[in-house]
C-alpha cells in the first residue's frame, strides 16, 4: 500500500506543470551557477598565482633584514559551492619585525554589478530557489485534497493517517529529487571540466558528498515545512499565502536580520577601532622605548666619559666611545625585552577583549539566526567549503604561523641594534645572506573532519526542524475531522 500511495503522489506531482517549470529552473540555475562560479574561481586562482609569482620573482632572493614578507591566501576550490565570507577575507599577510603581522585586502570593485546584485552559487540556489520550489511542490498536498473533498475519501481507507502523511511527504520529496539530482549531476560534470578543480581528489570528493547529503536533508526539511503548512490550512490559496510568508520570514527575514539585530543589541568596537587601538599602542610603546634607549645611551656615554659626538659615529672614534657602546649593547637587551613583553601583553589583551566581545555578539546572532533552518544549512556548507564564519580566525592562524616562520628564518638571523640616530645589524653565527630565502605561506584550510566537528549542532538542528515540522503536520492531520 505504501508503494502505491507513494507512486500516486509522485505521478500527481510530476504530471503537474509546476514540475516541468521546476525541472527547467533547476537544470538551468544550478549548473549555470556552478559554471559561472567555476570560471570565477579560475580567474581568482590565476590572479593568486600571477601575484604570487610576480612577488617571488622580484623579492625571493633579495631580502632586506627588515623585510615585510608577504604571504598570499589561495582561494578555496570548494568556494565554488559556497562563496560565503570569501569576499571579505584578507588576500595577503605582511609580516613585520615587531611580530605583529598585517593582513591586507585590495578593494574589489572591479565588478560592481556582481557586488550590487549578488552572485548565484550552489548554496544560494538551494536556499532560495530549491527551498521555494519545495514549498511550491507541497503547499497544496493536503489543503487541495481538503478543498476537493478527496481527503475524506482517502481517510476512509483502513490505513493509519501517519502512513498517509508519510507517503505524501516521501512522494513529494522523491518527485522533487529527480530534477534536483539531475541538476546537481550536470553541475558536477561542468565543475569536473575545470582544470583547476579535481573531483577525484579525496578531500574534495568527500566534501562534495557531505554537501550533497546536507542538501538532501535541507530539502527534506523544506518539504516537511510545506506539508506542515498544508496540514494547518483548509484552502490551497491560503496554504500558498502562508507558505510564501513563512518562506519570506525564514529565508529572507531571520537570517539577514539576526546579525544586524545582534549588532544593535550588543554593540562592540569594530575591527577598524581595534586596529587603530593596536596601532596607537605600538606607537606609544615605540616612543617610550626610543626615549628609554636614548636615556640609556646618554647614561652609558657619560658613565664611560665618552664624547657626545661618538654617539652618532659608527664605530665610535674614541676608546671610551667603544666601551660605552659595549656597555649600551649589554644594558639595552633587558629594556628591549621588557618593552616587547609589555607591548605583546597589551596587544594580546586588546585582541582578547575584542575576541570575547565578538564571540558574545556572534553567539547572540547565531542563536537568533538558527531559528531558521536556512541558517544551519548555509553555516554547514560554508564551514565545509572553508568560507564559513571561522574562516577569518583560520586566516589569522595561518598568518601567525607565517609570521613565526619568517621571524625564525629571517628576523632572528639579524639582530637590529638601534643607537641614537644609528642602526646596526648584528648577524647570527654562521649567517650567510645568500642562503636566506623568503619562505612561502602554506595556507591550510580546515579538514573535513574538523569542519564536521564544528557543524554538528547545525546538522542536529536541521534534523530537529525536519522532525518538528513533520510532527506538527502529523498532529494537525490526525486532528482533521472527516465529518
Amino acid at each position: 500500500m505504501w508503494h502505491t500511495l507513494i507512486i500516486r503522489e509522485i505521478k500527481d506531482t510530476l504530471l503537474n506543470t509546476s514540475a516541468m517549470v521546476l525541472v527547467f529552473l533547476c537544470v538551468l540555475i544550478i549548473p549555470l551557477g556552478l559554471y559561472v562560479n567555476c570560471q570565477e574561481f579560475e580567474g581568482r586562482w590565476e590572479d593568486f598565482l600571477r601575484e604570487h609569482q610576480d612577488y617571488r620573482s622580484r623579492y625571493a632572493d633579495r631580502i632586506a633584514h627588515n623585510v615585510g614578507a608577504r604571504g598570499f591566501r589561495p582561494p578555496s576550490p570548494l568556494s565554488i559551492f559556497c562563496s560565503g565570507v570569501d569576499f571579505i577575507l584578507p588576500d595577503q599577510v605582511v609580516t613585520s619585525r615587531s611580530g605583529l603581522f598585517r593582513s591586507t585586502k585590495e578593494p574589489v570593485t572591479d565588478s560592481p554589478h556582481t557586488l550590487l546584485l549578488g552572485r548565484v552559487d550552489y548554496t544560494y540556489s538551494m536556499t532560495f530557489v530549491v527551498s521555494l520550489a519545495a514549498l511550491t511542490f507541497t503547499f497544496g498536498c493536503i489543503s487541495t485534497e481538503k478543498e476537493r473533498g478527496t481527503l475524506s475519501l482517502l481517510n476512509a481507507y483502513p490505513l493509519p493517517r501517519a502512513v498517509l502523511l508519510s507517503c505524501k511527504v516521501i512522494g513529494r520529496y522523491a518527485a522533487l529529487l529527480v530534477p534536483l539530482v539531475v541538476a546537481i549531476v550536470v553541475g558536477l560534470v561542468v565543475v569536473d571540466q575545470s582544470s583547476f578543480v579535481s573531483l577525484g581528489d579525496p578531500a574534495v570528493g568527500l566534501a562534495i558528498l557531505v554537501i550533497f547529503i546536507v542538501t538532501l536533508l535541507f530539502v527534506f526539511c523544506m518539504v516537511c515545512l510545506g506539508v506542515c503548512v498544508s496540514a494547518c490550512t483548509h484552502q490551497s490559496i491560503n496554504s500558498m499565502v502562508i507558505a510564501f510568508m513563512v518562506w519570506t520570514v525564514m529565508i529572507l527575514g531571520i537570517p539577514r536580520l539576526s546579525p544586524m539585530m545582534a549588532k544593535a543589541l550588543y554593540p562592540i568596537d569594530s575591527s577598524t577601532t581595534l586596529r587603530m587601538k593596536k596601532k596607537l599602542a605600538v606607537e606609544d610603546h615605540e616612543k617610550a622605548y626610543v626615549k628609554a634607549r636614548e636615556t640609556l645611551m646618554e647614561a652609558c656615554f657619560s658613565e664611560c666619559g665618552a664624547p657626545e659626538e661618538d654617539m652618532r659615529r659608527s664605530p665610535p672614534g674614541t676608546e671610551e666611545g667603544k666601551k660605552a657602546v659595549l656597555l649600551y649593547d649589554q644594558r639595552v637587551v633587558p629594556i628591549l625585552e621588557t618593552h616587547q613583553k609589555r607591548m605583546a601583553a597589551q596587544i594580546s589583551q586588546l585582541e582578547q577583549d575584542y575576541s570575547n566581545n565578538k564571540n558574545v555578539q556572534n553567539r547572540i546572532a547565531l542563536a537568533l539566526a538558527r531559528l531558521s533552518p536556512a541558517t544551519s544549512f548555509t553555516c554547514i556548507l560554508a564551514t565545509v567549503c572553508g568560507t564559513g564564519i571561522d574562516a577569518p580566525d583560520n586566516f589569522n592562524r595561518n598568518a601567525q604561523r607565517f609570521q613565526d616562520q619568517v621571524t625564525h628564518e629571517i628576523y632572528d638571523q639579524v639582530i637590529l641594534r638601534q643607537y641614537k640616530g644609528l642602526t646596526r645589524f648584528l648577524y647570527a653565527e654562521g649567517f650567510n645572506s645568500d642562503n636566506m630565502k623568503l619562505p612561502d605561506m602554506t595556507y591550510a584550510y580546515p579538514t573535513l573532519t574538523e569542519s564536521l566537528q564544528k557543524s554538528w549542532l547545525d546538522i542536529l538542528l536541521l534534523a530537529l526542524y525536519t522532525l518538528l515540522y513533520f510532527g506538527i503536520a502529523l498532529v494537525r492531520f490526525n486532528q482533521y475531522d472527516v465529518r
Binding site: 509546476s18 578593494p107 606607537e283
Partner: protein, 479 residues
C-alpha cells in the same frame, strides 16, 4: 461604473488573507530593517569619525617635509546608505596620497560582520526587491485566472462594461490596497529613521533623495502588480498562475540580476584590480630604479670631466649618497623628468584597465536590465550614493585629494644636493596640517540625470506588462 468596480475589488482584497499577511510582513520587516540599518550606519559613522580624528591627532601635521609624508583622506558613509547599502561594504575606506602621484586606496580587512557577510544584510532596498515584489505578485497572481477558474469571469464580461475598465479596476484596486499597507510601513520606517540623532530628514538634499526613492519604489510596485495581472491573464487556473508566478519571480529576482553580471565577466574577462595595482607598484619601482641608474651615469659622466683635484672631494659627496651642489641643476632636471613621467605611465595602465572594465560593465548593464528589478536597484543605489558608479566617484574624489596634497606639498619637493628638499621659496610651515578630504557625492538631480533611462525602462516594463494583460484579456473567448 469604474469606481463601483474598484470599490468591489478593494473590499474583496482587503477581506483576503493576503492583505493581512502582506501588511504584517511590511509592518514588521520594513521598519525593522530600517532600524537595524540605521544602527549599522551610526556605528559606521562613529568608526569613520573616530578613525579620522585619531589620524588627525597623530599624523595630521607633517613632521618632516620629506617625500615619504602621506596624507590620509577618509570616506564618510553616505546617510542614504541606510536605505540601500549597495556597494558601501566593498568601497575603499580611505585614500593615501603619495609623493609619486599614485595614490593608494585602502580597505581595511573588516571581519567583524562575518555572519552578516555569510547570511547577507537586510535594508529597505532588499525589502523592496524580495519582499514587496513577491507580495505584489501574490496579490495579483489570480486576479483573472481565479475568476476564470470559478466561472465568474464569464458573468463579469457579460455585463455592459468595457473589458479595459474591468481589467483597470482590478489592477488599480489591488495596487491601491498593496500601496496602503506599504505606505503605512514606510511611514513607520521613516519615524524610526527620524528618531536617530545622526540623521536629519529635513535636509533638502536628503529629503529630495528619499522622495525620489519612494517615487521609484511606487513605480516598481506598479510594475510588479501589472506583471502579476499579466501572468494571471495567461493562466487558466490558480495553480497554473502560481507556477508562472514562481518562475517569473525566480527568473526576474534571483536569475537575471545575479547571473547576467557573472556572464558578462565570463564573456569579457578582465584583469583584477589586484593585478593592476601590483603592476603599477612595480612600474613605479622600475622607474625609480631607472632614475637612480641614470642619475649615477649622469654623475659619472660629469665626474669624468672634472679635474683630479676636485674629483676626490666630489667622489666623497657621491659616496655618502648625496648630490654635489654643482651637479644639482642637471640632477634636478632629470628628477623633474621622472616626476612628470611617472603619473603619465601609470595613467596609461589605468586607462587600458578602465577601457576593459567599461566594455564589461556595459554588457552587464544591458543584460541585467532585462529584469525591472535591476533597473530599480541601479536607480535606488545611485540615489543612496552606493551604486555601481560609486567606485568611479571614489576614484575621482581620491584624485582630487591627491592633486590637492600635491599642490600643497609634493610639488614643492625636489631632489637637492642633500637628498630630498623643498623648492626654493617654499616654506613648509605654510602647511600646518593636512586638509580633510572633501568627499563629494552626486545630488538627487544629477543622479536622476544619469539614471533616467532606468526609470524610463521601469515605466516601459509597466506599460508592456499591462498591455500584454490587456491584449490577453480582450482576446478571452467567453464561449
Amino acid at each position: 461604473m469604474l469606481i463601483t468596480l474598484i470599490r468591489k475589488e478593494i473590499t474583496e482584497t482587503v477581506l483576503d488573507l493576503r492583505f493581512v499577511v502582506a501588511s504584517l510582513l511590511f509592518m514588521v520587516l520594513i521598519p525593522l530593517s530600517m532600524y537595524v540599518s540605521r544602527v549599522d550606519y551610526e556605528q559606521r559613522l562613529a568608526g569613520y569619525q573616530q578613525e579620522s580624528r585619531i589620524w588627525r591627532e597623530r599624523h595630521g601635521t607633517p613632521e618632516w617635509g620629506g617625500k615619504d609624508v602621506e596624507g590620509h583622506g577618509f570616506r564618510p558613509p553616505s546617510v542614504l546608505s541606510i536605505f540601500a547599502l549597495g556597494l558601501d561594504p566593498y568601497l575603499p575606506d580611505r585614500v593615501v596620497t603619495k609623493f609619486s602621484g599614485v595614490f593608494q586606496t585602502m580597505k581595511e580587512s573588516n571581519t567583524d560582520g562575518t555572519l552578516g557577510a555569510l547570511l547577507g544584510q537586510m535594508d529597505f532596498h532588499f525589502c523592496m526587491i524580495y519582499v514587496v515584489s513577491l507580495m505584489a505578485l501574490i496579490f495579483t497572481f489570480n486576479t483573472v485566472s481565479g475568476e476564470r477558474e470559478r466561472g465568474t469571469l464569464r458573468l463579469l464580461i457579460a455585463q455592459a462594461v468595457p473589458r479595459g475598465q474591468l481589467l483597470l479596476s482590478k489592477w488599480v484596486s489591488k495596487t491601491m490596497v498593496l500601496l496602503v499597507s506599504y505606505l503605512c510601513a514606510v511611514c513607520m520606517a521613516l519615524l524610526v529613521l527620524e528618531a536617530s540623532p545622526q540623521v536629519t530628514l529635513v535636509d533638502s538634499q536628503v529629503a529630495a533623495s528619499i522622495g525620489m526613492m519612494l517615487a521609484i519604489s511606487l513605480l516598481l510596485i506598479l510594475c510588479m502588480t501589472s506583471l502579476g495581472v499579466c501572468l494571471s491573464t495567461f493562466a487558466r487556473g490558480s495553480l497554473q498562475s502560481i507556477t508562472l508566478l514562481f518562475s517569473a519571480w525566480v527568473i526576474l529576482v534571483l536569475g537575471i540580476p545575479k547571473i547576467t553580471p557573472m556572464m558578462a565577466e565570463i564573456i569579457h574577462p578582465c584583469e583584477t584590480r589586484r593585478v593592476i595595482s601590483s603592476r603599477k607598484a612595480m612600474l613605479t619601482k622600475d622607474l625609480m630604479t631607472e632614475f637612480h641608474n641614470r642619475r649615477e651615469r649622469l654623475t659619472d659622466s660629469l665626474l669624468s670631466k672634472e679635474d683630479n683635484e676636485d674629483r676626490a672631494s666630489i667622489e666623497m659627496v657621491l659616496r655618502s649618497g648625496n648630490v654635489p651642489t654643482r651637479y644639482a641643476p642637471q640632477v634636478d632636471a632629470l628628477w623633474r623628468e621622472y616626476r612628470n613621467r611617472t603619473p603619465l605611465e601609470l595613467e596609461k595602465i589605468e586607462e587600458q584597465y578602465r577601457n576593459q572594465l567599461q566594455a564589461k560593465h556595459t554588457l552587464a548593464m544591458i543584460l541585467s536590465r532585462m529584469s525591472p528589478l535591476c533597473c530599480y536597484s541601479y536607480s535606488i543605489t545611485s540615489l543612496a550614493g552606493t551604486g555601481v558608479d560609486e567606485p568611479k566617484n571614489f576614484m575621482n574624489n581620491a584624485k582630487r585629494y591627491q592633486h590637492q596634497i600635491s599642490q600643497l606639498l609634493y610639488d614643492n619637493i625636489i631632489i637637492g644636493s642633500n637628498g630630498y628638499g623643498w623648492e626654493k621659496g617654499f616654506d613648509a610651515r605654510q602647511v600646518p596640517t593636512f586638509p580633510d578630504m572633501a568627499y563629494a557625492r552626486a545630488n538627487a538631480q544629477q543622479v536622476m540625470g544619469t539614471r533616467v533611462f532606468d526609470v524610463l525602462l521601469l515605466v516601459v516594463y509597466t506599460l508592456l506588462f499591462y498591455s500584454l494583460a490587456f491584449i490577453r484579456f480582450v482576446k478571452y473567448d467567453v464561449r
